[in-house]
Symmetry: C2
């Protein structure tokens, strides 16, 4: 089902000069998003190099036809839900048409070039109205490391290798990159205290995740089979599932995380499409010796063969002090999407296995994608081992958890021999003091 | 803040004859909903006796003015989110205007009467687009009874009396009353089994809850103070939080219920407004001796004085066999909304205390509202004590959990000396076999 076509050709270049060699948005990427040029109304756009192409203007200019035109029409409003609902076929047709328009050889450059905006002049919004946001827990190194903090001898619960564990998240507080995060207030109880207190979280953390944009979804009562589930991946983004560990520890029994997470979730604003990611699909890493095989409803040879993603992930931290000294952001962790125990298709098949309906524009978080080493921790909870071992920065500052003024930056890139690298753009937000 | 006005006058009657003495929808109720007359498009309506008044037609007929007209205009589409966003003032003005139009004494009856539909000819939809659905756990008898099944000596966790425990639910699968529920498939593991299996849930259950429709909501980062939180209650409905206990037991650690709940949630379709419920507000029952006082952000004298609701709740069960013998529905439980440990205002203040934004049309479940006795169990898990003691029906049938063809019916009524009783209408759904 994962096809390569001429849009992936590594020899393809664009007349948008900044696209060629661009770390994130060469012509082989062409992600979709919603942007406002200047103070204008939000509309669909495509990132190309340092520019954004106005999809509505392309449509209105009569530059599209057939399936590509129909797909662009579905994206005519101020969100991409309609486009996501159409599924892969129309999205692929639109991608091909846009690739043609932006390619070096395009004769239509004179009509397209006026429809480009400098990305730095634009505001980026959420790409879709999120119906439901679900967060999974498929980073096994994260689950193991966090489990160890509570249960040193038995870090993974018995269900972990059978059930792609997930929970419902809060859709209203999902934010596009760049919007500051206010430190949450909440209840917490120190181990030595008799009673809880209410105040600013003292253990604010990030979580390095990928987000999955769902399309076209399924009807209630009609599960998505594992072999069809991959087709529900419209695209991916970076996702920072901000977490208040002290609130979480006190509230989460017995119904799971709630206010520890619902104050904010930050996503990178571009939908990196399944088509753009096609060259970077890899086989699911083999399960460790002794692990059970997935139950039949989660087991598919095609998914095992190419259901995983090879995406390099990085977390960077800047502090007010680092910025005032004009020092580079501190790299907190490097990881890779291959460290997921379950594939996205397995998550989606599981999610709908009880008949639950997924809708176009639903957002699925993977859970924290830590790697196997101490330099691959997808959260400070892991990196500081529950706050015991602080991270030292170049300024001499220490971090157990995030402080006001800190900015967390997530990045993601795909590289493969013989292909042009693509990236996710940035997912960043600074911490503002509590009310 | 809770005011009684002439719409509550017990002497008020309607020229809609079926409204007078109606168990649910006398002229003192006037709930809002979204309905389709015949096969026509969904629109806002008001239940009055056995009829539904077409609010759009009332508006288009020029029968409203001022704040009432503005409120009706906000309800002009196919959901009530716009009306909910306006808050109590415009809603109250519209209620007063509708009460005037429907009152026995109204001179406008000739213009209003043609805009009524027989309720039995109409389809009822969800009243709002649900942005997020959150489910709480404030029924202390339920929490205690369920806790006892797992921890006989220590049924309530240490956080229960400090934290209004809640979790995010699934918005996409919330359904209006009357839509059949398909028994979910899922993973479960029998205690004696080594490994889990995948198949139809064998422990399907209902949960007797109230739902709260939120309006007007708050901005991200701006908590709703406890003294203002009551004003966020646009209205209430009945809510059945269907639960697959076997799936839940296996999946819920460590992140809470997920697929055990997300296959369906049924609500009664009418928003019983805060205004209609005003006569039935009561003081919050005193906390048992020795319980901690609520932390300051949850503590408000006004809320204590009239933050609770006196709503009689009942759960009825019919089975295929009961229906074929034309026997009455079996009353499974009677309870009352006064058995909530936290008020709705406390839930909303807590929910937003970390800055989380609530939006008009958000749905908040209270959690299962069991009463103190064995005849007041809000779920079969409690009534059958984890499946050990079956319920006996008049047919000789037994129920530990729900079987295919069973129908669960929730009802709610408010009664108070000196006032006309009002009801919630019905929240019902039948269980369809698994796929």
């Amino acid at each position: 089902m994962i096809e390569l076509d001429q849009t992936h050709d590594p020899k393809l270049t664009s007349w948008v000069a900044s696209a060629n060699g661009h770390a994130d948005f060469p012509i082989q990427n062409l992600p979709f998003g919603i942007f406002s040029p200047g103070g204008a109304t939000p509309r669909a756009g495509i990132a190309i190099g340092d520019a954004i192409l106005d999809l509505r203007a392309i449509l209105d200019g009569g530059l599209l036809s057939g399936a590509a035109e129909r797909a662009a029409k579905a994206a005519r409003g101020n969100d991409l839900n309609g486009l996501l609902a159409l599924g892969a076929g129309p999205r692929r047709a639109l991608r091909q048409a846009l690739s043609n328009l932006l390619a070096e050889a395009s004769s239509l450059r004179p009509r397209v070039e006026p429809l480009l905006y400098k990305a730095s002049d634009c505001l980026l919004h959420l790409p879709a109205r999120i119906g439901d946001y679900t967060d999974f827990y498929v980073g096994i190194h994260h689950a193991t490391a966090v489990g160890k903090l509570f249960r040193p001898d038995n870090p993974l619960l018995p269900n972990y290798k059978y059930v792609p564990i997930g929970y419902h998240g809060r859709a209203s507080s999902v934010l596009p990159s760049g919007i500051a995060i206010q430190r949450p207030l909440g209840q917490s109880k120190r181990p030595e205290a008799e009673t809880p207190t209410f105040g600013p979280s003292a253990r604010l953390d990030y979580e390095l995740e990928l987000g999955v944009w769902v399309g076209p979804g399924n009807d209630l009562g009609t599960p998505i089979g594992i072999s069809a589930a991959g087709d529900q991946i419209a695209g991916l983004c970076l996702l920072n599932d901000w977490s208040a560990r002290d609130i979480q520890a006190w509230e989460y029994q017995p119904l799971g995380p709630f206010l520890a997470k619902s104050f904010a979730t930050t996503v990178s604003p571009w939908i990196i499409t399944a088509e753009a990611l096609a060259p970077f699909r890899i086989a699911q890493p083999p399960r460790p010796e002794g692990d059970p095989a997935p139950l039949a409803y989660l087991n598919d040879a095609g998914d095992q063969a190419q259901g995983a993603f090879d995406i390099e992930l990085e977390v960077l931290l800047t502090t007010a002090e680092l910025r005032s000294q004009e020092l580079a952001a501190h790299s907190l962790a490097r990881s890779n999407a291959r460290h997921m125990y379950w594939t996205v298709a397995q998550m989606l098949a599981h999610h709908s296995s009880n008949g639950c309906n997924l809708r176009p524009g639903d957002l699925i978080g993977t859970g924290t994608i830590s790697g196997p080493g101490q330099d691959a921790c997808g959260s400070l909870l892991e990196a500081s081992q529950g706050g015991k071992n602080p991270i030292r920065l170049e300024t001499g500052e220490e971090r157990r958890f995030l402080e006001d003024g800190d900015e967390v930056i997530l990045k993601g890139h795909c590289r493969r021999e013989g292909f042009v690298s693509i990236g996710f753009g940035v997912c960043r937000a600074v911490i503002r003091p509590a009310l």
